[in-house]
């Protein structure tokens, strides 16, 4: 059965002239080769967490087998090796996002921690009574709640960039929100719930005209798009490693050096100090100032390996292939009576949210799971977005470059089954 499937895929990709060899790519991800409820797994929950290729698994386990030690501390051989591998991963991140310097790449657990770091380190120092923070209507809770906490603490105000019915931000309304009280803009690169790609360069340019720094939540951006922080000119950019083929616990917050240097530390502890006395502590330089305590060394080294893996692929072809899958799935699902796509922006990637008339997404998720298909059902940590579209929740299929058209067909058949059960 597997062979037949592979044959179809090859024929299919040849006919569309796409050079992307998905059969070979799938072999890199051991988790994909399993059955769930006696059916081959169809993993369409990549926006929640992507799968990990064998080379990343191998790199993490080699570290644990041969190199494990604490970093930045020991004079001994293993500590040196661990430090070299860990700092090597940081350099890989620098190149991946084209930061000027590696010390601008702070290792964190993921985007959530990265945003909280900026809120504490930058926000608490810069925001005061009557000041304003601008975020967008489609933000993930990770880019809403920390700013709300700050507003509450400082007596500041949260302003929200509205979006249209397709899930696109309204840039003129955005520009009207910016004023001398605006202290920071926080916006996501790609929406996890809607799939919208936001025009970050434009958003940054308009904020900078007013001298306002911009934080970009790149959790869904980095896995699908080429990220060049110098070209975007954003002031902060966050990455969740586990959404781009690395282990959980890995991630980055990039910040421009001059901003990071002015910021106060997020957490206090070991490895982030220069000197400590009971009277006073002076802090270490970048990036250590923001990396108190022993970090997730194996995971961050894994992130470095995931970047190597991505660099070994033709990323432009991967992107084209993902766009084809998304277009194919959108066309197939829209054609089913009773199915409505939520998020119809012109520029989309990764996520495809939908609702079925009179069926709750949670029930869709359970029935699809019985068919071996993993999707996300719920509010996607974006409750204001759900409210904007008048739905309590959506079902979301989210794609990676290892998914296939055959998997989309299975999704479509399963959605039809859901409609049958509830008819």
């Amino acid at each position: 059965m597997m062979i037949a499937t592979e044959k179809t895929i090859q024929t299919d990709t040849q006919s569309t002239g796409n050079a992307w060899d998905v059969v070979r790519i799938r072999r890199d991800f051991p988790v994909l080769a399993q059955t769930v409820n006696s059916k081959p797994l169809v993993y369409l929950d990549n926006a929640a967490s992507s799968q990990v290729p064998q080379v990343v698994i191998d790199r993490g386990s080699r570290y644990l087998r041969e190199e494990h030690s604490n970093i930045h501390r020991g004079v001994h051989y293993l500590s040196q090796r661990a430090t070299t591998a860990y700092e090597g991963a940081r350099e890989k991140v620098r190149r991946f996002i084209n930061a000027r310097e590696a010390r601008e790449c702070i290792f964190v657990r993921g985007s959530t921690e990265g945003i909280n770091l900026v809120m504490h380190g930058y926000g608490r120092k810069s925001v005061g009574v009557g000041d304003e923070i601008v975020i967008s209507a489609m933000e993930h809770h990770a880019n809403i709640v920390p700013w709300q906490m700050l507003c509450e603490e400082k007596g500041a105000k949260l302003r929200v960039i509205p979006m249209n019915d397709d899930g696109e931000l309204l840039l003129d309304e955005y520009e009207a929100l910016l004023n001398e009280r605006t202290k920071i803009v926080g916006v996501m690169h790609v929406s996890n719930a809607l799939g919208t790609i936001n025009p970050i360069k434009e958003i940054v340019a308009r904020a900078h005209k007013q001298g306002v720094p911009v934080l970009v939540d790149g959790a869904q951006g980095a896995p699908h798009l080429k990220v060049d922080v110098q070209d975007l000119d954003c002031d902060f950019y966050t990455i969740s490693g586990h959404k781009m083929f690395a282990p959980t616990g890995s991630g980055v917050v990039y910040g421009k050096a001059e901003l990071l240097e002015r910021m106060q530390p997020f957490m206090g502890g070991g490895d982030m100090i220069r000197t400590v006395t009971f009277e006073q502590t002076t802090y270490a330089g970048l990036p250590n100032k923001f990396e108190a305590g022993t970090p997730a060394i194996a995971s961050q080294i894994g992130l470095g390996a995931a970047i190597d893996y991505l660099n070994s692929l033709d990323r432009a072809a991967a992107h084209r292939y993902e766009q084809e899958l998304l277009a194919y799935a959108t066309a197939k699902l829209s054609a089913i009576e009773g199915v409505r796509i939520i998020g119809t922006a012109r520029e989309k990637t990764g996520s495809l949210s939908f609702v079925i008339e009179d069926v709750h997404p949670h029930d869709v998720g359970t029935i699809l799971d019985q068919e071996g298909i993993a999707i996300r059902a719920g509010h996607h940590c974006a409750q204001p977005t759900m409210k904007r579209f008048n739905v309590p929740a959506t079902a979301r299929a989210s794609f990676a470059f290892y998914n296939t058209k055959e998997e989309v067909d299975r999704l479509v058949a399963a959605v039809q089954k859901v409609i049958e059960v509830f008819s």
Binding site: A48, N192, H360, D363, G378
Partner: protein, 162 residues
């Protein structure tokens, strides 16, 4: 597929489509709101309690088929019962969906509620079935709100990540 048809039986689908006692209860003297923050299910349970007896009951809100059908059948099951009777029934229902009570072997008062036994094969859905019961219980005990986060040992496999 057999487990699936066990979960989505006709009775459940029927209560989902036409939930009973699905309204605001004007005479209510106790209400509570229940939410499941993981999936966004939200419902309000209204009770009219007199002399320790639930004289009338209704609910409103949005949720999946399992939570809606369970709420609907909950209202039918608790109406006219005393606080003690309702407490015992809730306990049996809760243990059944958790798989701690064999509803076929152990004597119980569950009756038609046995239809929810299939939920235990779907750990991520146990809270959907029990949300309305917890909310009713909170209202009965003069609490204004309950959330599945605060609830005991229900197993939930939902991912909270975006």
């Amino acid at each position: 597929m057999s487990e699936l048809s066990e979960l989505y039986q006709q009775v459940i689908l029927d209560h989902n489509k036409k939930p009973r006692n699905f309204k605001r209860l004007e005479t209510a003297n106790r209400t509570a709101e229940g939410v499941n923050p993981l999936c966004g299910d939200q419902l309000t349970v209204y009770l009219f309690v007199e002399d320790d007896v639930i004289k009338d009951v209704s609910f409103e809100g949005s949720g999946c088929a399992i939570s809606k059908a369970s709420a609907s059948m909950m209202t039918q099951s608790v109406k006219g019962k005393t606080r003690a009777e309702v407490g015992a029934l809730f306990d049996e229902f809760h243990r059944m969906v958790l798989g701690e009570l064999d509803e076929e072997q152990t004597p119980n008062q569950l009756g038609r509620l046995k239809i929810f036994a299939g939920v235990r094969e779907f750990p991520a859905r146990v809270k959907c079935a029990s949300l309305s019961w917890h909310t009713m219980h909170a209202a009965l005990n003069h609490q204004s709100a309950t959330t599945t986060e605060d609830l005991g040992p229900d197993v939930v496999n939902e991912q909270a990540a975006g």
